[in-house]
């Protein structure tokens, strides 16, 4: 167990700050000591390195955590020329951006060939991880402490348990306390006292983690000679019921998670289909170039990001209106030059817009080459939200659901609350009457098509965060989006929303049993059969407006 000089671990946080202040000054004896210990890492064997790591931990130097994390992530190097140890910002770049291990400030860069990495192996990494976790446990940030406690649960030994017990006394954050209590209970399962074991099981019963469940299940196993490993029957019974309880909750939560995955896949489907729902549904125009308008939106995101390097987060937000404008204008141009002449001839529009889609694809290929472009995901969109031990939701899935709902309500608002929306609905319901009322139907057609196309562009921004941005992006989504619109009922935005969401959920529910591709095939076949039963979709348009289509 690590003993910190002068006072316990709880003083480590302020100490870290102080250390950082002093680091700018000349090397103290403590710094020198730290550096020389660090230097030993260069030559030591793996087992020798483990001892050095322990000693580094005991040194209480403010840079220990950064250095050990770097070692864990294989970012610790020494310079071949002067044997000085450095932390690299990331191990992949060349030249490597170096950080001084004492001051933790940038100290230039050097080609990777001039540096030697300080290697690790699995056993060493385990030691380092524990050392880092011990530090983390005394961090001022609750989330760091939580991660550290979780890390420690993976390898419980006597010193760890003692440390956890000590922390339990001072810890204020409830979730960290819970994690520590779980750790202590896990350790208590090995206790010779039956009561202690029973108490531990009742603590663990409320948990959700797979590790806890497996550990409890071990109590029910038999050893090779047929006798139970756990001698006491009451303990076994309690363990069995705890395992069952955990399993029940985990199943419940995994169902919840599948539902959420389905919703997020459904959101993508809704997003790609909703523009089509306007052009196909409201105007009766089959726009085969819809996928390519999404592709334009994705490439706009790429171009905006290229134009403002270093501002990934803002560039994504700016890309949304930019993509709307680019795709919307393309759509209006299409409407004015081609589609306008083909109204009332849906099969012709289908072919002509397909021609446009080929031209758009090839022009993107000519401008950006056929290679996939990578759009950088901003920091606030990567990573995942951990609700509890059983549910983890990646942020990009979460954001796509929110984004879809936003876009959807915005479109509804435009259609229901604005003058343009009123015109669009009037023209779609009865063109001749709307015209007689003085609505410029030509203009409304162009606006409607522009709106649908613009939304395709916005969908493209979202897609750029989820898949590869390449010339074939649109082709891979066009059939899906048509299926959503047809399934939901042409001319019905709510139908598209419900249709897309339910297609997404069904897909995710089937996936564990059938695999991704087969699930998709099932959904397609189911839809083909569904259209036979209800040729007008889930929510068919009723009344004269439908018949005029």
């Amino acid at each position: 167990m690590i003993r910190f000089p002068r006072g316990g671990q709880r003083f480590f946080g302020p100490l870290l700050l102080l250390g950082a202040l002093f680091a700018a000054h000349a090397q103290s004896p403590k710094d020198a000591n730290f550096l020389s210990t660090l230097g030993e890492l260069r030559e030591a064997t793996y087992s020798g390195k483990a001892g050095i790591v322990e000693r580094l931990g005991q040194s209480g130097h403010p840079s220990v955590r950064a250095v050990l994390t770097a070692l864990l992530e294989e970012r610790l190097y020494y310079r071949n020329s002067d044997q000085k140890v450095f932390i690299a910002k990331s191990a992949d770049s060349d030249p490597l951006n170096l950080i001084d291990p004492l001051s933790l400030k940038n100290s230039g860069s050097a080609p990777a060939a001039n540096l030697t990495q300080i290697g690790t192996n699995n056993a060493l990494r385990r030691v380092v991880r524990m050392a880092v976790a011990r530090f983390g446990l005394s961090s001022p940030s609750a989330s760091v402490r939580l991660d550290a406690a979780r890390e420690m649960l993976k390898s419980l030994d006597d010193p760890t348990v003692a440390l956890l017990r000590e922390r339990l006394g001072v810890e204020r954050n409830s979730s960290v306390r819970k994690e520590i209590a779980t750790g202590l209970a896990l350790a208590a399962l090995d206790s010779p006292d039956t009561k202690t074991r029973l108490a531990a099981i009742s603590t663990l019963k409320g948990g959700l983690s797979q590790d806890v469940r497996n550990r409890l299940a071990l109590l029910l196993d038999k050893s090779s000679d047929g006798a139970f490993i756990e001698k006491d029957e009451n303990v076994r019974r309690a363990a069995a019921s705890a395992v069952a309880a955990i399993d029940r909750w985990r199943t419940f939560y995994s169902g919840f998670q599948t539902l959420f995955f389905g919703l997020s896949l459904g959101s993508v489907l809704v997003l790609i289909a909703i523009g089509l729902a306007i052009t196909f549904g409201v105007m009766g125009v089959i726009n085969m170039a819809h996928g390519e308008l999404m592709m334009l939106g994705a490439y706009t995101t790429y171009a905006v990001q290229l134009a403002m390097p270093g501002h990934t987060g803002i560039s994504i937000l700016l890309a949304i209106p930019a993509a709307f404008i680019v795709s919307g204008l393309t759509g209006i141009a299409m409407e004015r030059t081609i589609i306008r002449h083909l109204y009332g001839r849906p099969l012709e529009t289908l072919l002509a817009t397909f021609g446009v889609s080929l031209i758009l694809q090839q022009s993107v290929r000519s401008i950006f080459t056929a290679l996939n472009r990578s759009v950088i995901t901003p920091d606030w969109m990567s990573g995942s939200l951990r609700l509890n031990d059983a549910i983890e939701i990646t942020y990009n899935r979460l954001y796509v659901v929110i984004f879809t709902l936003l876009v959807f309500s915005l479109i509804l608002a435009v259609l229901k609350r604005t003058r343009v929306g009123l015109d669009i609905r009037a023209v779609s319901q009865n063109r001749a009457m709307a015209k007689a009322m003085g609505i410029r139907t030509d203009w409304v057609d162009a606006m409607t098509f522009g709106l649908g196309s613009g939304i395709a562009g916005v969908a493209g921004v979202a897609l750029s965060q989820l898949t590869n941005v390449g010339p074939n992006l649109g082709q891979s989504y066009i059939i899906d989006s048509f299926m959503v619109v047809v399934f939901g009922g042409v001319g019905n935005l709510w139908g598209s929303l419900i249709g897309g969401m339910s297609m997404g959920i069904v897909n995710e529910l089937l996936e564990p049993y059938a695999g991704a591709v087969l699930a998709k095939i099932f959904v397609l076949v189911a839809l083909i059969l569904f259209i036979q039963a209800r040729p007008r979709g889930l929510f068919p348009q009723a009344g004269r407006a439908a018949e005029d289509k």
Binding site: R345, Q362, I479
Partner: protein, 386 residues
């Protein structure tokens, strides 16, 4: 309404021209390949034969499409599925024919199955070592798919663009399915490395020349069959369905069965075309199911001229010749050209290039050529814009 003559030589002048050219090709190709020495400029290489063979197979697919689209108003965006299924049936026979000459030398299992560590032949592969069985399947499998799919679709009156979209979904679903390795159709790579057909070496010019003649005969025969159908009394009903489906139904004709049988027949022609395509090209893989292939076939028909049969074939040959030329000489330009073709033909050439030729007969009413029924055009007139 339509005044195609009863005898082909009499009124169907375009058809007569087409059959004449086809006969010329069937005679000239073997002659130019076998009798003309390779040193001569008139010598036709094996590549040239395969290319012409490919065009003729595509012509058959276009013919099948024109039969339902041009005459019955059914726009299928999944017709390449029937083509590919016929091709796969033929490919299975050719794979079994390889026998122990494969890379792994297994006398029963094709190479890809040995590679996937399969121990026995899946049930649906049995029988494909007999050519006649395979030939029967070439007809039966596309026919069955067309029958089942068409029965569902026409019975519930899925028409117009809805039908187009679900046929597209059908071929897309089939493509995804055939890409899967455990479907037992070679996954990604499909079938290739064929050795011979009925004992004739597939790498010899002679076999290719014979295959080409067979393709030409099949195309000619399909043309005559389609012509016979559209010129018959049933053909009149079929055209009536295209022009006014509800009216035809009210007159007491079983519209659904007419559509269904025509669709099945069209699927069979497409299947045979695919079966002839595979031995000449030497490969079949799931990308044949790609939705774009079906849409491309539609544009061949539109370019050539819908509702003429021979126009569709001419369109297929012309567009594919342009494709071969452009993808070779200016690969960048091909998609632009194809895209522009789609736009220009639909916008300015509703009758295709055949419509440019001087003709004494008003062959097809304008509304039909515009791809809409009278009922629809009446509505759109009502909703007219300007």
């Amino acid at each position: 309404m339509v005044r195609f003559g009863n005898s082909i030589a009499g009124r169907d002048r375009g058809g007569a021209w087409f059959l004449g050219i086809l006969t010329l090709i069937a005679i000239a190709v073997p002659v130019l390949n076998i009798l003309v020495p390779p040193s001569s400029t008139f010598h036709l290489s094996a590549y040239g034969i395969a290319l012409i063979g490919k065009y003729l197979c595509y012509g058959m697919l276009a013919l099948a499409l024109d039969l339902i689209w041009g005459f019955c108003g059914i726009l299928s965006l999944g017709h390449a599925a029937f083509f590919a299924l016929g091709g796969y049936a033929m490919g299975m026979y050719l794979m079994r024919e390889i026998g122990p000459r494969g890379v792994y030398g297994n006398p029963i299992l094709p190479d890809f199955m040995v590679f996937l560590n399969w121990k026995s032949l899946p049930w649906f592969w049995h029988g494909f070592n007999h050519f006649l069985f395979a030939a029967a399947m070439v007809v039966a499998v596309p026919a069955l798919l067309a029958l089942v799919f068409g029965w569902f679709a026409f019975r519930s009156r899925v028409t117009g663009v809805y039908f187009s979209i679900i046929t597209q979904a059908l071929t897309y679903a089939l493509m995804l399915a055939f890409f899967r390795n455990n479907m037992g159709f070679g996954g990604n790579n499909g079938f290739t490395d064929f050795k011979d057909i009925l004992g004739f070496d597939l790498h010899s010019d002679g076999t290719h020349a014979v295959l080409l003649v067979i393709t030409a005969v099949a195309l000619g025969a399909s043309y005559l069959a389609c012509r016979a159908i559209v010129d018959s009394r049933a053909g009149r009903v079929i055209r009536a369905i295209r022009d006014a489906e509800s009216r035809t139904r009210f007159l007491g004709y079983p519209v659904e069965s007419f559509k269904l049988w025509l669709f099945v027949f069209s699927g069979i022609i497409a299947g045979i075309a695919g079966a002839l395509y595979v031995p000449q090209i030497g490969i079949i893989n799931p990308s044949e199911f790609a939705p774009i292939n079906s849409i491309e076939a539609v544009i061949w028909v539109a370019v050539g001229g819908r509702g003429t049969l021979y126009g569709a074939i001419a369109g297929a040959v012309l567009v594919n010749y342009a494709k071969t030329y452009l993808t070779g000489a200016f690969p960048e330009v091909w998609l632009y050209a194809l895209g522009a073709l789609f736009v220009l033909v639909t916008r300015y050439l509703p009758r295709g290039i055949i419509g440019l030729l001087p003709s004494k007969d008003k062959v097809v009413p304008k509304a039909a050529l515009l791809g809409e029924s009278h009922e629809e055009s009446a509505r759109s007139r009502q909703a007219a814009r300007s």
